[in-house]
Symmetry: C4
Subunit: 219 residues, 4 copies
């Protein structure tokens, strides 16, 4: 009873931080006001800001959905979990800054654009590390309601790490080509939105997946 | 039990995002400080900002009331609903930016004022699309506690879509006359605040309405 | 059951808006950075900002405590209550803007300081109107768990209105003397923080008070 | 029942304020945009901002964990507690301002850097005072589920006060050497993150500690 309440306060605080971070993304969207050229022209020039807003909004939204799914499998909360969760939130809160920076520099298409996109990718890498650390924590002790059998740990880890590796790849690619890296980061968001749990997949994978992610019916 | 908790976390996150977005509206309200002319004069010149603040505040407030009423009819949450909800929130979070832009440009009464008001209307169109998508989702499967009979779906849809169509009309009108469009958007807010559920209306409509909107006593 | 959840979502949303508004107060606190004179000097010149921050913080805090106490007496939520609550929040959200303006202008000690302080007082008048409207709503129908007997309505109203009248007085005084008005608004906050429910007062007043405000033991 | 709900709204509001404050920290992180020198160079020059962000983020996070642990021991909420909690939040909300100021001035390494770091330390001193006041409140009356025996009060107080005294020391040291004070504040955060409850310590201390802080298993 007490433990359930703990988990619910962990969720409430995380929801609060994620909700503020996702809303602060829109602070990047501004126009200079009257006397700084045609409004339509200003809005047109800000296309990277709008695109980065949409990508970051859905990426943070996906984090929220997955955080939700992972945390609700947890039976007991300890201090280690609270600090791993803070680590995840530390990077989530950086995303509006990274989004703003990539929006400012992307259309420059120069060295600064590459640095800005690498920073953007790195903020998602950090977030993946925080999320994977929480997942790793759930694999040990008696911390979740339905623990994964040890022989499935590596399959489940592989799944988590592969998502993070795409961001690592995007961050490295950013140092050579900002636009390609930016497109990859956008495609990851699109992929996760339309991703479906393989319902008729073989048992092992399905179980690993079910524990690691949301288990909602997809009717 | 588990499912109810899901819904409550969906509500908590949505409440958080809407609460932050509604509060960020006030960031648009600023004066330039000492040395930029009489304060009373500055405040007077900012009338579009104050008016836009009040309209957007109540419009977001109405979204919150209706979101509240719609979500509490839902029995099970799935990933599709979570992403439709993110789509709604994506547009809610854009409203402070659109409000700020219309506040800056409305009194110019030129082409830029028309673009700004169209942007303002478009953010409400987007929000309506998100909200209608969630409503459409509730019509299928066994997702709500008291499903609407199929023969009432079109009446209920018509009701939802009509609200959105007013915003579509306002967005188009904005391209010709910013003030008229702005007044229409304001009147929609006034209409929804004073709107009452028809209590003695004929059965079908009343049922459709009751499912689609808040069902509070109006004593 | 369903009704309790309604009330809890009303509370959660209000808490969210109030929490964001109280935190945004601190955005007023800034210094110009290196190259704009001694930091100690800059901080010293900002005394109105720090003082206004503390006053507004505790005033919003008091609103939250009283809102909490009032809402928990409520049995059923209807649309009217939701919109009266939005009206209250509309003014709460204005307080950071009014605080920022009074902080900018107070030390000017001129006509602008008087306008700014009147604006500051007016934001609290608006908030009092919203709060009194919610209280008035609780007096009618069967909306609270332990309704006040009708013969005690006027005593309870007098109590609510008197708080609001101090803000009306401060707003009018502000037009003549900004500092006096500012001090009055500060003293109201101090008064409410140290105020105690009269425990051995005569029955009628005690009951009216108990319904209208927090009923916590003061041991 | 009613009392539990009270406590839960106190937690919800505090979580909201802390969540917003922790997220606003990231507003300090900005770069000047294209045309203001190499982005990599700008980011490098902002190292104090990034370091201060991480320190403040974890320090607020620790406050949240400890607040959580302390509040859940409480049985009944009264007005005094609500205002002591507001006092704590008043200083929590100041932390983003203090963080931003120290980030702006630290690398100047002059008198202003010392004032900024003292301000930073003082915001944590204020926070410690608020937190200690809440703890002191829990020692009296029948306010917690498992009250500490009176003979253990001083040991528990010593523990709380010692944390605050490190911030007092850092604030005084800041007036002589900004960097040393800043490092101390950072080390306090690191210490609390890795701190573990002494599980096999002698009874008295263990009990005092268990009431004063989180009691999560550390498996």
């Amino acid at each position: 009873m007490g433990e359930l309440m703990d988990r619910s306060r962990l969720e409430a605080f995380s929801d609060g931080v994620i909700a503020v971070a996702i809303t602060l993304l829109a602070l990047d969207l501004t126009v200079a006001g009257p006397g700084h050229g045609k409004l339509a022209h200003q809005l047109g020039e800000h296309w990277p800001a709008f695109l980065a807003y949409v990508i970051s909004f859905f990426t943070i939204g996906i984090i929220w959905v997955n955080h939700h799914a992972l945390i609700r499998t947890i039976k007991t909360v300890n201090r280690t979990l609270l600090f791993l969760n803070l680590l995840l939130l530390l990077f989530v809160v950086l995303i509006p800054f990274a989004t703003s920076t990539v929006a400012d520099y992307l259309s420059e298409n120069n060295g600064d654009a590459r640095v800005a996109t690498a920073l953007y990718g790195a903020s998602f890498v950090g977030m993946s590390i925080g999320f994977t650390a929480i997942f790793e924590w759930t694999l040990h002790g008696h911390r979740v309601y339905q623990p994964l059998p040890p022989e499935q740990h590596w399959a489940a880890r592989a799944r988590f790490v592969s998502g993070g590796l795409v961001y690592v790849a995007a961050t490295i690619i950013a140092l050579f080509n900002a636009i390609v890296a930016f497109v990859i980061i956008g495609l990851v968001a699109v992929y996760y939105i339309f991703e479906r749990t393989p319902r008729h997949a073989d048992g092992d994978t399905a179980t690993a997946t079910a524990t690691a992610r949301a288990r909602y019916p997809d009717t």
